[in-house]
Every structure is written in structure tokens, then in C-alpha cells.
Symmetry: C2
Subunit: 137 residues, 2 copies
DNA sequence: TATACAATCTCCAGTCACTGGAGGATCAAG
DNA sequence: CTTGATCCTCCAGTGACTGGAGATTGTATA
């Protein structure tokens, strides 16, 4: 059998706190882990991937309900197709906005970094870059 | 004089709760608002932009310390240029990763949405898309 | 085999970033 | 001059963790 991972290994490989992994199990984001005879949790690479997904999604600003909905797309491949597509499309809209804002912010920061390289004071449009995406002006 | 905004106007125009605006003032993310004779806070369009920036940045997953550091780039245009450029470059690295992950997620979701359109069951690679960006495999 | 020390367990209290409500003052319309 | 919306301060509650106490187990070394 391929070797199972201890909770500490999973934590190290995903940059997650051990307590946080137990917390995700408690709220049902991760399945209940298999236990050794003495009661310690063990994991496999599917758990590793799932946890990595959760962590990255959190860093991208997705809430836990949103992550649940994204995971559901993976968990139930045989689910109602139209429903899955609708969920995917909702997220797609949101993700498009996030990408656009990040790209605007990136170009503002690039301006700061490069105009500083020349020794001049940066014209700092950081706020303008990301503030105004959908405000008039 | 151009008309000043009430806290409720600011809240409506940025999709922020009134209490949250007061909270941002308390922790120094927003400057102390000017008050009317009776003690009500008033704002201008600079405050509006700053708050919109803060809210968007939060939705993108930036922590409040990170937002402070981004705002500092705007707040101190005459600050040490090399320092500002260094801060900008740190954020640029992080933002590149975020954009890449969002784009991978977007293409996974697009697959779900379009393969469902054909009436077939989606091959759901949502987790794989975003889980594995820097894990070996 | 003994022992020490790292990792795990459960349970519970604390933190960060809000969110909502009580109780009271103020403003704008009718 | 009343009525309802909006504002004020203060404080308690929520979501998503984070850290610590106290006890148990696993493993590496003497």
C-alpha cells in the first residue's frame, strides 16, 4: 500500500496549521480522516490536493460557502449537469472581475516599481487603479 | 463648495456597511472623518476612492496589513523611492501567483460549463486546476 | 529496555475583521 | 411639530481560524 500521511505532513506540505486541518474536518470541508489504531488521523494524496485547493481558494478571497460550492462541482460529477454549469458560470463572472482588478493593480505597481528605478518619485496611482473599476470616474 | 457625503452615502456607493466604515476609521485605514456641528461624519470623493480600494482589495484576499502597505505607496509619494519599489515588487510577485491561479480556475470552470452544455457529464478538474500550482504533481 | 522528546489527541479560550443591535440624538419632509 | 430615516457611541456576536493546556503515543538514542 502507498504510505499514508500524518496530519503534520499534510500541514507542512500545504502550509496549513494542524489545528486548521482539524477545523476543516469539523465543518465538513475535508472528509473525516481515517484513523490509526491509536486514533491518529491519516491522509492520502487526494486529501492533500483537496486541502491545497481549499487553502489557495481562501488566499484568493473565496469564502467557505463559495469553496463548498466549488468543491461540490468536483465531488458530484454525476450531478445535474445544468445545475453544475450554472454554478460554474456564476463563479466565472466573479473570477473575471477579480482577474481584471488584479491586472489593473499589477500595472499600477509596475509603474511604481519602474518609475522608482529611474530615481524619480513615483506617480502613485495605486488607489485609482483598483478603486475605480466600476465607480463612475 | 462641493458637497460632502454622509456615511450612509459612502456606504451605499461602495457596498460597505456603515459600521465597517467606522471600524476602518478606528483602525486607521481611513483618516478621521471631518464632522458636522452635530458630530456626524462627512466624506469627499478621495475618501470614496480610498474606501473602494480597501473593499476591493479585501475581496481579493489581501489582509489589512497588506492593504496598509499598498496604501502607504499612495500616501507617501515622496517617501524613499527604493523602499517603495521594493514593496511594490513584493506585491507584484504575489499578484502574479494569484492571477495565474485564477486563470487556471477560470479555465477549469469554463470546461465544466461548456462540457455540460453538450449534455455530457463534466470531467471535473476543478480541484486539480488550483490545487497543484506548486505541489510536485 | 529505559527515557526523553516530538507529534498527536481533545477541548477550549483568544484573535482578526467585521456585523448587528440597544439606546439615544438629529435631520428633513409633511 | 411630529414622524421616520439616519446618525451617534458602545458593546456583544460571528466566521475563520490560531494557540495553549493537559494527556497520550510514537520513535530515536543511551
Amino acid at each position: 500500500m502507498t504510505k499514508r500521511l500524518a496530519i503534520g505532513d499534510l500541514a507542512r506540505q500545504t502550509g496549513t496549521k494542524v489545528n486548521t486541518i482539524r477545523f476543516y474536518e469539523e465543518i465538513g470541508l475535508l472528509p473525516e480522516a481515517l484513523r490509526t489504531a491509536s486514533g491518529r488521523r491519516t491522509y492520502d494524496t487526494a486529501d492533500l490536493r483537496r486541502l491545497a485547493f481549499i487553502r489557495h481558494a481562501r488566499q484568493l478571497g473565496f469564502s467557505i460557502p463559495e469553496i463548498r460550492s466549488l468543491l461540490a462541482l468536483s465531488d458530484q460529477p454525476d450531478r445535474d449537469c445544468a445545475e453544475a454549469a450554472a454554478i460554474a458560470r456564476e463563479h466565472l463572472h466573479d473570477i473575471g472581475i477579480r482577474i481584471a482588478r488584479l491586472e489593473t493593480l499589477r500595472s499600477a505597481l509596475t509603474d511604481v516599481a519602474t518609475s522608482c528605478e529611474g530615481g524619480r518619485v513615483a506617480e502613485c496611482r495605486v488607489i485609482e487603479a483598483i478603486a475605480g473599476t466600476e465607480l463612475a470616474l
